[in-house]
Symmetry: D2
Subunit: 466 residues, 4 copies
Amino acid sequence: IMTVMITSAASTQVFVNRSLTLENIRCYGFDMDYTLALYKSPDYESLGFELIRDRMVSIGYPHELLRYTYDPSFATRGLVVDTKYGNLLKVDSNGNILVCSHGFRFLKGEDVHNYYPNKFIQRGDTERFYILNTLFNLSETYLYACLVDFFTRCTRYSNLINGFQHGDLLMSFRSMFQDVRDAMDFIHDTGILKERTIKNLEKYVIRDPKLPVLLRRIKEVAKVFLATNSDYMSYKFHISSSFQPGGAKPSWHSFFDLVVVDTRKPLFFAEGTVLRQVDTNTGKLRIGTYTGDLQHGTVYSGGSSDIVCDLLDVKGKDVLYVGDHIFGDILKSKKRQGWKTFLVVPELSKELHVWEEKKNLFEELKRLDVFLAELYTKSPPAGLQVLTYRMDMSYGQMGSLLRSGARQTLFASQLMRYADLYSSTCINLLHYPFNYLFMAPPVLMPHEATTDLTVTQNDVKTNKTE
Amino acid sequence: IMTVMITSAASTQVFVNRSLTLENIRCYGFDMDYTLALYKSPDYESLGFELIRDRMVSIGYPHELLRYTYDPSFATRGLVVDTKYGNLLKVDSNGNILVCSHGFRFLKGEDVHNYYPNKFIQRGDTERFYILNTLFNLSETYLYACLVDFFTRCTRYSNLINGFQHGDLLMSFRSMFQDVRDAMDFIHDTGILKERTIKNLEKYVIRDPKLPVLLRRIKEVAKVFLATNSDYMSYKFHISSSFQPGGAKPSWHSFFDLVVVDTRKPLFFAEGTVLRQVDTNTGKLRIGTYTGDLQHGTVYSGGSSDIVCDLLDVKGKDVLYVGDHIFGDILKSKKRQGWKTFLVVPELSKELHVWEEKKNLFEELKRLDVFLAELYTKSPPAGLQVLTYRMDMSYGQMGSLLRSGARQTLFASQLMRYADLYSSTCINLLHYPFNYLFMAPPVLMPHEATTDLTVTQNDVKTNKTE
Amino acid sequence: IMTVMITSAASTQVFVNRSLTLENIRCYGFDMDYTLALYKSPDYESLGFELIRDRMVSIGYPHELLRYTYDPSFATRGLVVDTKYGNLLKVDSNGNILVCSHGFRFLKGEDVHNYYPNKFIQRGDTERFYILNTLFNLSETYLYACLVDFFTRCTRYSNLINGFQHGDLLMSFRSMFQDVRDAMDFIHDTGILKERTIKNLEKYVIRDPKLPVLLRRIKEVAKVFLATNSDYMSYKFHISSSFQPGGAKPSWHSFFDLVVVDTRKPLFFAEGTVLRQVDTNTGKLRIGTYTGDLQHGTVYSGGSSDIVCDLLDVKGKDVLYVGDHIFGDILKSKKRQGWKTFLVVPELSKELHVWEEKKNLFEELKRLDVFLAELYTKSPPAGLQVLTYRMDMSYGQMGSLLRSGARQTLFASQLMRYADLYSSTCINLLHYPFNYLFMAPPVLMPHEATTDLTVTQNDVKTNKTE
Amino acid sequence: IMTVMITSAASTQVFVNRSLTLENIRCYGFDMDYTLALYKSPDYESLGFELIRDRMVSIGYPHELLRYTYDPSFATRGLVVDTKYGNLLKVDSNGNILVCSHGFRFLKGEDVHNYYPNKFIQRGDTERFYILNTLFNLSETYLYACLVDFFTRCTRYSNLINGFQHGDLLMSFRSMFQDVRDAMDFIHDTGILKERTIKNLEKYVIRDPKLPVLLRRIKEVAKVFLATNSDYMSYKFHISSSFQPGGAKPSWHSFFDLVVVDTRKPLFFAEGTVLRQVDTNTGKLRIGTYTGDLQHGTVYSGGSSDIVCDLLDVKGKDVLYVGDHIFGDILKSKKRQGWKTFLVVPELSKELHVWEEKKNLFEELKRLDVFLAELYTKSPPAGLQVLTYRMDMSYGQMGSLLRSGARQTLFASQLMRYADLYSSTCINLLHYPFNYLFMAPPVLMPHEATTDLTVTQNDVKTNKTE
């Protein structure tokens, strides 16, 4: 019982990478998708998967693909697709490969070495490597693995280094990935995904009654805006479905001093686009640019972070921006505008749960590490690998979003660099008063952390090096 | 006594950011300056300071400058010069300003705010901001502070936002910084600095008898190369003076399988330049490119990291490169080539010493933090600031190279991201056998670190937010 | 009668900037729009204008705009929109301003000077300046002038430097241009333009029976491909409507060895995209990439100029590419691939006609020039300006596509630099045998051209400078 | 007799690409080298050649090189070095190859084809292709040809595609070119070239008594500045030696309102550097930046074109800048600043002389062209090639600086695009009054030029194509 309670407690917490005094925040900004508009996992990912899978078959991919169903235990966010070789990679902040799968087959050391002799990728090569940064990408990631799995096994196709061949037809890993991306765009652009979501709102959308409470409380102490890349109609649908569990229609525009749709983040954090007003009756853009004082409840389209700060009369350091996209929302708002940032990581509930349950494995890993450091054998023994594997498998087949054994993922390192705060949901802000001082836990550098054990460790070493 | 012993032990240690098995390293590379060629601090910085100060006066700067002498307690490495406003800045990895000085005056919050409304700089603006990354830069940093100090006080000059005015003459912060940089180039290019160093080798150069021992041992188990941006004559001078404390002339070429001068790092880690052979009798370049097998003791000029790997028949992941320059040596070799990296941080001896002695301040800071987190008062109380200040002052006027109170500097964050290993000197490698397994201490993310105290903390919060 | 005959003869000619031997061309490539698919001018531009004008009103622009109708005498291709000030500019190859209009008002010297003190723009600033390079752009250009005209006159709006203000609403020149561009995309993307064209094919589309004759003849001596940015459906519609004036359906696929749609020129001439096969029954893309031998009549999507050369087994210098887009078709194919180029300039018929009729004005201009050169008065006299104006007005309000008085436009200079051949239509190739040697007229440089008159001219000068 | 007179007259003329009214020019700017400071050709190039040749031998190149002497008939300016294959290329504005030599061997069609299958280079690849734009480059160009000639013939070396091999030594074309460049820098930086020039001023430097006359006259009507990339000492030397044919020392500072040295063109035309004052007694830079009114005769270092316009209170369009460097002086000042430009082309005297003498060959070429256009034979007959060759050889082995037969070089096309005026020397401005109106000869486009002969030509064609 206790464990559950602790976990639940942890899952309502906000975590701190850099200290931040809430009282100094004069303005709160929110992204929409996966921040204010929340989806039920894995049902929503499963819906997305089925729609793009069916789309693939309808454009000519083999019917056998219809047999695949979404498996939430396979993919995590932040995986990198190598469109040249069709692999899914989990990498650390320097591009070192932590996990590599080809379809559903996880590659061993030698196989990885054949593809990547340095066990390392230059992820700056964005023509080749594509990072699956959003939760929307999970369905795509899984479908891509299904495709590679199917063609690898299918006897009609022969396996080449850059794809699969059947007669005169080459299914290159590159073109297959392009098809998956296009299918994803298709289900968004045609509105199929939205339509299916509306048909079964209860199944796909989370309606948390605490969300209006949070926004109302924030509004008492600070300005609030919403800035989303979605268009006005998506905004209207999501906000209305998220906020109204039934009953009378509240005026949800009232929560925000400013709503900006079509923001084109990350461009929004740089030069941006022209700011237009949205006619909230028709959903169409008004012509021209509104230049008067901020009118409450006005919805805008386009613009830039500079314009938003001007309209709300705040400076970059006064803003806390809450979003789920590490690159578009967090990294860019921090790097270019110096905003304070809050990253929403829905997976964190599960990560915390597993961590609580399996922390003992990590402790064991640490003990083994110390032991190994003293033994300095050539390579990590089977024991270490078994422990890492057991720990990783507790999270899912790709392991944790944030680590692989004792090593952190690219996603984890970016989370720590760019997000001042993070939590599984922005609603957790409710548990803190608006004058709260979030204190970052002190991070010790290796030389600071290890000074305590210096004597013994050094003694051991000195003996051994003689 | 115990404290001293511990400190001394720590200062001979190699610290680990990412685990690394020495046994897998097939090739060791070394930078020269501040890696193999070591200088006595602060005498050497002091010499550099005096030479550039005198140079400034000789090109027309006021004679009053001659009164300034080098103060090693002022500057640390990694400071950023704002050439627009003449300030020295200590920043964190996101560009947030930790410390700001104008001349020798340390600016308070409001003054900083006047210059930088967001307390934040976009350090990507390399036209404006210049990062003083090497130990050679310390003399410049201090001289620049002297200049700003002098003109600020001097009644002949009036203070402007971008410099100082005297009649028709504008001394812009930008031109003054350019003059300091030119003076530094002058004492290097004319050989004055080298000449003065030679005259008093004992005073300026560290000759560690363990250095040849280290290189000889490495050579038994792996290939060794040296890659320096210096020219052949500087290489010859430094290596001979560092390696020969007197007595017979050993054949120091024999330590290296390959010596490369004029490397033009960081270009060396990208496309590089034409590889030439150096005639070690005359110091001149041979014409053409040597294409035969590697000849022991050959000295080359130019080339690239790819060529070096080819000549030595190793892959990037087999190389451990040891250097002192976080950008030119470490970041680039890691990002572009996937090399393993070892950063030499001579300041670490002092940092460790202070840390050992003042750790109690840090503990107090941590306790105060927890206390504050529960009190969530508007802003950090005087007590916190006093503690941070006291801790910083233990290191020097600009505080530690690596932190300011509980916050880490840009230098510290780059060290942790890009250096696999670090130590105060590469000689510390001697204390480890060549099959040693360096284990990185596990880094816990905030949500992992805080799960233990969740219950109580959350209780407190829940009560408070009612 | 004689004049007409001459003009008609000239209008069937192919003109030569760089000599080219047709016999060496092993492969002919064609763009589709305005190259093989021809539209009746000004009916088609008029249709486009009405559709985007109506669209503007439907998104909220004032109904008064409906009063404007398309005036083909106003705009020429190659005009530059200054989105900052709302001006239309005609410039020469160095960015010097030749003509400047604000709405329909043509600005005089001083007014131009107020906007552009140097009478010169840096057209590299593509954020601000937009070049209207295609014939499709004519409708937009005219509508933009209508907008500026309307708001300038409308008493409800006050004129600002960057737009028009009405109460709290700013109609910036920038946002108005964006709206025009979006309206143009709207009528293309929704298919409205195509639908209206189909309803009245006779009115809008030119069906030249000589086109199939030309393609059939070319096919006898060389390979032929079509490469268009349009999608397959547009290709199908245009080709079938252009080629079949009624009667039995010929197999127009048979004219081409290769048809490539969705080419994304100018990207097509660089790295390009994945090459896909189009299912000509459904119009959908086939999955995978066809790797077998070239099959006659196959239609592809995507790809790159390199792939096309590979499939057709030709080199860049063997290809003559015929298109109407100076940047996307001609400049890029020449600069990146070294293709021979043939620019289709439909306006040339009219330009030639005017030239023939008004050449005497040009002769007069030249005589006046020589006279002026000897008088060297301070500035060109009214006579010169009147002549230039009269000559320009013979072409239209913006003057010729290619010149303004004696000065050439940016379009003319690019035509001369990048197009090897040009003509009013590609059908004119029919008048030359396929082993024809196109000889470029020798271009004399000023010092070569003027050597004849040196003696007298110099005599005059020498006298005057005494 | 008559011919000579005509030529001499032409050689004192200023030629016009774009009309320009001298009366509107409020400010004249001059580059120094090859503009105000003139050298005697070929003696000066010969001196440069010998110095770099000797330098090459002193760094290890074979002594046999000393046998080579400078041949002024070989190279022209504007040649492109292909550092990959060691070829010298003469190209047109689209990168088409006009002439190609390997050492002193001129390659025929098939040999060119082997190196460049498309007979075309992408000159944007500046890593590989180096354009020899200045007259200083002539010595280098010739020496590079000597090197390739020597090693090609030398039996000790075998010929590879990328250089020459001798035992383990590879002399790559790339490294040889780097050595030539370095040798050139060496003779400039060490002052050897200047020293040797001073020793024999009469032999190497042109002292034209008309230069002070020109500058004095200009000063009466406009402002005058000098902007050179040379340092102050070079400026002092050149100006004094050019201006004083003996006798009393005139105050040559007095010719200029502003002298700027160390300009770092083309950077000078963009952001530039800090502007410093030069102490004309010591030649050293003063510290700080002078901010008062312009003082006559002051010499500055650095700065930018914007600063110069501010100091002289003129706008870009008021400036006529006179220089010899097509890229650094002319293209950049025109493109970025909209300055009027005057290109000094010392070779023009000879070009004009040859043109006058051999114009009949060109006429013959034209007649042959018309004839050929009617015959449309497969490829130009031997007659055409012989004529082109004879015409080219009249200029030198590489032909004219400006054309190859009827085709223009890259240099010629840039001259026409970017220089408003050009002449063999700026002194020719003396022959025009300062209110002169330079009229550009009207350039007819092919379709304008050919309308006269339309009827007959078209008749011929129509017959033939039946």
